[in-house]
């Protein structure tokens, strides 16, 4: 017995010792050849494969790689909260031309790291502006007028709803996500004053963006209360909203990227897109042209920073007449005739 125990101990020790070898081999097999700017990026909570926000940023990088020859080998998917700053710091210490933090949650981390590396350029998607505090000079704050795009999908949902009841599933209960909710509600009320919007959030921490099980239960609850279209702004949590919609044969509206996929055909009514990919690409392009500058950039319907999806996959769900009304509404927001609330 004792001998067997000692023997097993050695086997386990050996297996553990071999583990890093297996991992190490994989690391350096990535292609490095490139001529363009060297770009680093740290992903947000939902991570790559969220079919949403992070994937959009990733598409922007891939486009930069394809068209600008950018080196995009330095991307990090952090684990828990404290990893974010160290991931940024690790990238800042490398010889990179631009470093992205994807998500509002990087705001404080980027402020700190940018202060410690004044010679490096940073960009933060959804940077949260603070009262009285300026954006550090070497940081580009990329912001979007989510409320404008949400207003449009809210109006669309209200026009198509048979029950006059809509749902909104937010990720984390914070100001950024309130913008989506406010725009959606305002748009829905604009289109149909009698509409009722149920607003719920998946949680109060960053994990609320990666809890699809919770998303599914929230959505099932709303559908059972009579809602027939749900808009989500909750990262990977929204996968659960789509599952619920598929289950209940109801409709859902995607966010950030076009979230239509073959398995959700007829389920995803449209998506409120945030052209994170384009803003990432433009920032890299500016670096390559030597025209990079810090400060705040806010992109709305006018700048094509936000919008909604209307294409071959969903045009049968949206009657042409409704689409025309939506386009007219869009023009009135761009002209400034309609002001969309942020709260």
């Amino acid at each position: 017995m004792k001998r067997a125990a000692r023997w097993m101990g050695w086997v386990m020790f050996g297996a553990l010792a071999l583990l890093p070898l297996g991992c190490a081999k994989k690391q350096d097999s990535k292609p490095v050849a490139s001529t363009g700017p060297r770009v680093g990026l740290v992903f947000d909570v939902g991570g790559r494969g969220d079919q949403s926000f992070n994937d959009s940023a990733w598409r922007g990088l891939q486009k930069a790689q394809a068209q600008l020859g950018a080196d995009i080998a330095n991307v990090v998917e952090p684990g828990e909260g404290s990893d974010r700053e160290s991931a940024l710091r690790g990238l800042a210490a490398k010889d990179l031309d631009l470093i992205f933090g994807v998500g509002f949650i990087f705001t404080d981390d980027i402020d700190r790291v940018a202060g410690d590396f004044p010679g490096k350029h940073f960009a933060c998607i959804d940077y949260a502006l603070k009262d009285g505090a300026a954006v550090p000079p070497n940081v580009l704050a990329l912001k979007f007028k989510e409320e404008e795009g949400s207003f449009l999908v809210g109006a669309l949902a209200a026009w198509l709803s048979k029950t006059h009841r809509l749902g909104f599933v937010g990720g984390m209960d914070i100001a950024l996500i309130h913008k989506f909710a406010a725009g959606f509600q305002a748009g829905a009320k604009y289109a149909d004053p009698n509409v009722n919007v149920i607003v719920k959030y998946a949680g109060v921490t960053g994990d609320a963006f990666k809890n699809p099980t919770k998303g599914k239960e929230l959505a099932l609850g709303m559908y059972s209360e009579g809602a027939d279209i749900i808009f989500h702004a909750s990262g990977a949590t929204g996968q659960g909203v789509f599952e619920a919609a598929k289950d209940q044969k109801k409709l859902a509206i995607g966010v950030d990227s076009d979230q239509w996929r073959p398995e959700y055909d007829g389920v995803v009514l449209t998506s409120m897109i945030k052209n994170v990919d384009e803003s990432v690409f433009q920032a890299v392009k500016a670096v390559k042209a030597g025209a990079w500058k810090g400060g705040v950039q806010e992109l709305g319907l006018k700048e094509n920073g936000v919008g909604y999806v209307y294409d071959a996959h969903n045009h049968r769900l949206i009657p042409a007449e409704i689409h025309d009304r939506l386009e007219a509404l869009k023009a009135r927001i761009i002209s400034g005739e309609i002001k969309v609330p942020k709260e």
Binding site: G9, K26, G49, N54, G79, D173, V204, K210, T213, R261
Partner: protein, 299 residues
């Protein structure tokens, strides 16, 4: 209104039910099983990956059970054979499961956060019962049905069979069991392995009901199941009651939102309830006497 509420309670409770039932079998035999959380994670991962490659959710379910057994075996080897501290082993396994699933997810799917969509278990459409509220939901979902059957079967196994008696003896008084010719090591191993296999069904539910694997998708459910087991005084029926209680609290949390009460407060309901119930209402927590103590056979 009440039927959708109850159905939601049941759905939310499924992973708790399996994990708490699993935990009962391990702890009744004398081994504390904090590794429930890690078992949920590895089995959910195995279910998603296997279903993705074979397109057969039943194979995914089988793979989940296998992964649960292997994870539990690791816990058993460390705790029973090597007599290491059971809490430390459990925590180590949970950390290992979190890291390993993330690492393998990245290796297999190129994302350390999400797997692609996979098929789920088919729903059963039995004539005549599908329309009945709540009961119809149970009969429609294979895993929900299994949970409903598993709890009384587990209770019977533990309190009405020779194996159950031996298992409980190993948790209460291993010396006595040993003196009567029961192999404490073998019985404890069996208890932990049952624990792994049963908990794995909960992990499979997480992945197959969600049609994907998400990094860290167990989300602390293993720990809540552990609390439910303690609330239920280490008996399968009691633990199931605890699970339904927590499931109800979580459903309430989902349903109450959007009213006058702030989200932040409503989010606390399940955790507040856990503390209140643990601290106040269950009376003396009657843990198996020798739970957590490795058994050393006198030679």
């Amino acid at each position: 209104m009440i039927a959708p509420f109850l159905s939601q309670v049941l759905r939310i409770s499924v992973p708790y039910l399996f994990a708490a039932l699993g935990g009962t079998f391990s702890e009744r035999g004398g081994t504390i099983n904090i590794a429930l959380e890690g078992i949920l994670l590895t089995s959910a991962f195995a279910a998603a990956v296997t279903t993705y490659f074979t397109h057969d959710p039943w194979l995914g379910l089988a793979a989940a059970v296998l992964a649960g057994l292997l994870t539990a075996l690791l816990h058993a080897v460390i705790c029973v054979t090597f007599r290491a501290d059971q809490i430390v082993s459990g925590i180590a396994i949970n950390l290992l499961a979190a890291g390993l699933t993330k690492f393998l997810l990245k290796e297999i799917f190129g994302s350390s956060s999400n797997s692609p969509r996979v098929e789920g278990l088919p729903e059963w459409h039995l004539a005549g019962v599908g329309g009945i509220p709540v009961l119809g939901d149970i009969l429609r979902s294979p895993l929900l049905l299994l949970a409903a059957i598993g709890v009384p079967v587990g209770h019977f196994l533990l309190y009405r069979t020779p194996f159950g008696l031996r298992l409980r003896a190993c948790g209460e008084h291993p010396e006595a069991a040993d003196a009567l010719g029961v192999s404490v090591t073998r019985i404890r191993y069996t208890g932990i392995l049952i624990s792994g296999a049963v908990t794995a069904l909960g992990g499979a539910w997480l992945a197959l009901d969600q049609h994907s694997f998400t990094d860290g998708m167990s989300g602390g459910r293993g720990y809540i199941a552990l609390a439910a087991m303690i609330v239920g005084k280490w008996s399968p029926l009691g633990a199931a009651g605890g699970c339904l209680l927590f499931g109800a609290a979580e459903t309430l949390q989902i349903r109450l939102q959007g009213g006058a009460v702030p989200t932040q407060f409503i989010q606390m309901i399940p955790y507040l309830l856990t503390m209140v119930v643990l601290a106040g209402f269950i009376g003396r927590a009657a843990a198996p006497r020798m739970s957590g103590v490795p058994y050393r056979k006198e030679e």
